[in-house]
Symmetry: C2
Subunit: 383 residues, 2 copies
Amino acid sequence: MSRNVLARVHVGCARLLEGGFVAEIAVGDYRYTTESHLQRFIASILEKNGVRAEDAAIVGKVLTASDLRGIESHGAARLESYYVSRIRNKQLNPTPEVTVLQETPASLAVDGDNGLGHPVAYRTMQAIIEKAKSNGSAFGTVRSSNHFGIAGFYAMMALEHDMIGIASTNSVRYGAPTFGRSVMLGTNPLAFAIPSAVEPHFVFDFATTTVPRGKLEVYKRKELPLKDGWAIDADGHPTTDPDAALKGALLPLGGFGTEHGGHKGFGLGLLVDLLCGVLGGGAFANALPLPNSAPQSGAISHFFGAIRIDGFRDPSAFKQDVAAALTEFRESAKVPGAERIYVAGEIEYENTLKYRANGVPIHQKVWSTLEALAKEYSVDFFA
Amino acid sequence: MSRNVLARVHVGCARLLEGGFVAEIAVGDYRYTTESHLQRFIASILEKNGVRAEDAAIVGKVLTASDLRGIESHGAARLESYYVSRIRNKQLNPTPEVTVLQETPASLAVDGDNGLGHPVAYRTMQAIIEKAKSNGSAFGTVRSSNHFGIAGFYAMMALEHDMIGIASTNSVRYGAPTFGRSVMLGTNPLAFAIPSAVEPHFVFDFATTTVPRGKLEVYKRKELPLKDGWAIDADGHPTTDPDAALKGALLPLGGFGTEHGGHKGFGLGLLVDLLCGVLGGGAFANALPLPNSAPQSGAISHFFGAIRIDGFRDPSAFKQDVAAALTEFRESAKVPGAERIYVAGEIEYENTLKYRANGVPIHQKVWSTLEALAKEYSVDFFA
């Protein structure tokens, strides 16, 4: 296996395991379906759980886009574990009445009424894009929401409108601040999408912790020591022991202390909590739920933005220059053993092309949960 | 010395040395002046170099703010080395004719005509804030500019208007992309300022490389090995040898490869280059100058933004919640040995209070360069 392939697998795994829901997934052992089948199936199962058809279709679209991009942790793998189970447990409202808290030509603040995150996120980003068309730029917040899938999906909605798209969300708590040992920060992803004349566009979607919690679980199962800078134990000591880390906290991007820039990752995570939780008027800091805490409605908040490119330059010339910049980086000299340099969004774009041509891979373990749902709800399985 | 003080010094040094211009500064050996004396002195020297009085006053204000915040690398230390020397070498235009390239109610794109970065940055941020007052949010770009000091200064201009401020700049090249060994990325700082009901506000101003180049120079002088993840050598191998690193490249926040999130730091650095260089219509990627390259006019670009808080929530309630969030983090449980948790902007705020009360410290070596300038240009020295 060449270093290139290794690097690719490495980057892929980091994304695959973000969130930790398919931590048990091994290479191989995949079944395949199509984009439209998967979208319809997800929507059908949610409809059977009382979700409105138009909302269910949006969730189907967002989860399928995640699997298409190779981010399996945020796709169909979460249908049962995150969404259906929470509706059944009455932790999540299948028929929310979304309300507008505040609105101007440049802004929209809504309350998601503890519904699924995807529909309210999708519609808020749509509204923000419409506002930006007439206003030049616009921003939106959503509070009282739930997990919305991949942040990048919503940022990417701006691309076809020649706008820069921004999307972010706070999350349940997994991480500690720099020099702190309290678990009080989510993985708090930030996503930026910038259009290029030649695909892939720049789609930069990243968690502000160094690694996701799922990565600790994988290392535990494999009985491997963690890398420095990933986690602390419950007492706040840096640790490479997966068991100790799972009882402790994730570290911000940059790791422990300030030596490797951990205070920058902490700043990014806190920025996200201020833009989502505080600006959105929702929960923030210690008021956010812990992963295994009791049902807590409306705890998650999102932030969205869209900025028209033609306020600054001709969009065609801009997109040509973006393509040129991305090409310069991709084609620059590599470190020994590396064959490729990836820019943000490139691996996911290549996955999408491949999976559209050859089928969307669904791991056997996820496939089984889908089959069980199909049987339980008498829905045709990928038919 | 307690762990608290050590942690504090550590964070302080990271900032102190950002940029590497006062890399020789040791603890102690300081002289003291006042904010107004330093502002006036800097302005006088620049006026003697042909800079218009109103422009020189802005530079005095920005550089002094940097020293007041304890970011000595970006303050008076650069007056001779960065600004006066470049004007004398005809690398920088002391009397630029700034032109508007494009303007809408939501946007402003200007060309700085190779002048000092501070005046054009200050006026663009002022204009963006005015636009945001009527438009809800607004963004601006500047191309053909030069080093503008601390990004945080411009982001902070939004605070008193109950807006979120954003400022960023690309820079001369010091860093390599993930899996690459070409020096093609600046330190590319990003700054966000969010107002709090109780100072300090959230002022998050960070370079997107793990450490600044100046830190490598300090370690070389002290004959200390670098930390992992700071730099690569010219062949692209990770190195802890300062000499090899100085001939190589800085690594993005997160370090070498993807194991510690280096691809996230690379994504942030590239994001800045796209928002500044490409959106601004200026130079980007390999077209940016190297630190020691021949004079290259107009190579640096900036990006600014302002977003009104009252589009989403009552600003007073928002600022109360920001204060509550920052307090929660500051007061959370510490790791063993640490006495304080700092949120972004807190150390700089405390420095400002202290230096306003006790005088602004200027290192003896910098003081000597200022004394020499005073003599050369017959300007009263801090009188």
